[in-house]
Amino acid sequence: MSGIIAFLRKFYFLVLFLCLEIASLVFVFTNNYYHEAGFFNSSNRITGGVYSAYSGILSYFNLKNVNAQLAQENTRLLNLVSERKDTSNHKKSPETNPFGEQFNFIPAGVIDNSTNLPNNYITLNAGSEQGIGEGMGVISPQGIVGVVIKTSAHYSVVMSLLHKKILVSVMFKKSGTFGTLSWNEELTPHANWPGGDYRFATLAQIPMSEKIRIGDTITTSGYSNIFPKGIMVGTVYDYKSIPELYFYVIRVKLSTDFKNLKYVYVVTDLKKIEKENLETTAENSLNDKKK
């Protein structure tokens, strides 16, 4: 016992260092966003407050750009509404959104964003009080943005599409052939494209039977329930065939301009919520019967 104390007294600096280092590494490697109720992310009140104050100052310098973007989005939506009114005698009222009754959109402002880190996150100025929940998709007028991984009452953290862990199910708009989009160059080492570029992502697992042309449009496939079907992702910039795997890998030029992201929409899937509610009520009634 006295030996241990003497040892600690002699090496307390080293021991403390090792303890703190191990604590940090535990944080790093156990950081599972979906199931962790931690404080240490940019959705908490301190970081959220600093970011919204900072972006509040900067937002004045971007008003011109933001206005232009919103005007463009308005035009696009007006066109969509008038198309629906003109071309078909839909029984649905024109107010319903173009994705049918399944999806709702919550507007949010971007208060922090990065594009040049190995894994990028976006902080939004809306949280669970506005109806945002973990696992929801985030889109911009130009295309997809990411997935919500953490919410607090007034802020939320989004895993950007520019993150090594994100995988999105996407498809060719014209043919419907689908594949998986990622921003992790390690997943497609044979393509040998430089990673870390905020303008590009990689689409893998497209069969050799697909006829690809540069400039083809890639959209979301809607298989994952995170994004509605048909949201713009980007266009084909370059492609390579991997003969031994019978697959193409495709370099996709992303349509979203991640450097100038100011306003986004969070996608809530009403059917998913309905399904979850149904499941909980079913569970509750089962539990009641057991009692």
Partner: protein, 170 residues
């Protein structure tokens, strides 16, 4: 003594706020990600208790991690840097001893000493941080380039900040 502690706390707030607002958004491409806030750890009093420095570095790292959503990575890197600080101070000590009122600034110790002392520790910090962030040795040389270029950027930013805001320290 209390003034001294207050000064150090203010210096930390100043460096961390600058880091998470302005430096974070400098946007110099993927090879330049300066983590200049570690300047606050480097500029702690030379005579400060090394255990205290270790704890301060750990906490400062955690705070920055919160802003970057990189839980634990900066904490690990900063703790490692603080662990190496006594050693760096020792090998770069001028003729054996530091003056009692010496501080880790250009004004007090000279540019040459500052570049050697800060450069070494910045390089150690960035090496740990960037390899943890990459989390694999895929793209080993890309990460190495990031470490070296970002370290240079950090060093330059710290030297500029010192010459702008901490000139009167000497």
């Amino acid at each position: 003594m209390i003034i001294e502690i207050g000064k150090n706390i203010l210096r930390f707030l100043f460096f961390i706020l600058l880091q998470v607002t302005i430096v974070r958004h400098l946007d110099l491409g993927i090879y330049f990600n300066p983590f200049f806030f570690i300047g606050a750890i480097l500029m702690l009093p030379l005579q400060a208790d090394k255990t205290l420095v270790l704890v301060i570095a750990f906490v400062a790292g955690l705070v920055v991690d919160m802003f970057y959503n990189t839980m634990g990575m900066n904490a690990a890197a900063c703790t490692f840097m603080a662990f190496c600080r006594p050693w760096a101070l020792q090998i770069y000590s001028p003729a054996g001893e530091y003056n009692a009122d010496a501080t880790a600034t250009v004004g007090s110790m000279g540019v040459g000493w500052m570049i050697r002392y800060a450069g070494t520790l910045i390089l150690l910090h960035h090496t740990v941080l960037f390899y943890l962030e990459a989390f694999s040795f895929y793209g080993f040389f890309t990460t190495l380039a990031k470490v070296i270029l970002s370290s240079i950027a950090t060093l330059i930013l710290i030297l500029i900040t010192q010459s702008l805001f901490f000139r009167n320290v000497s």
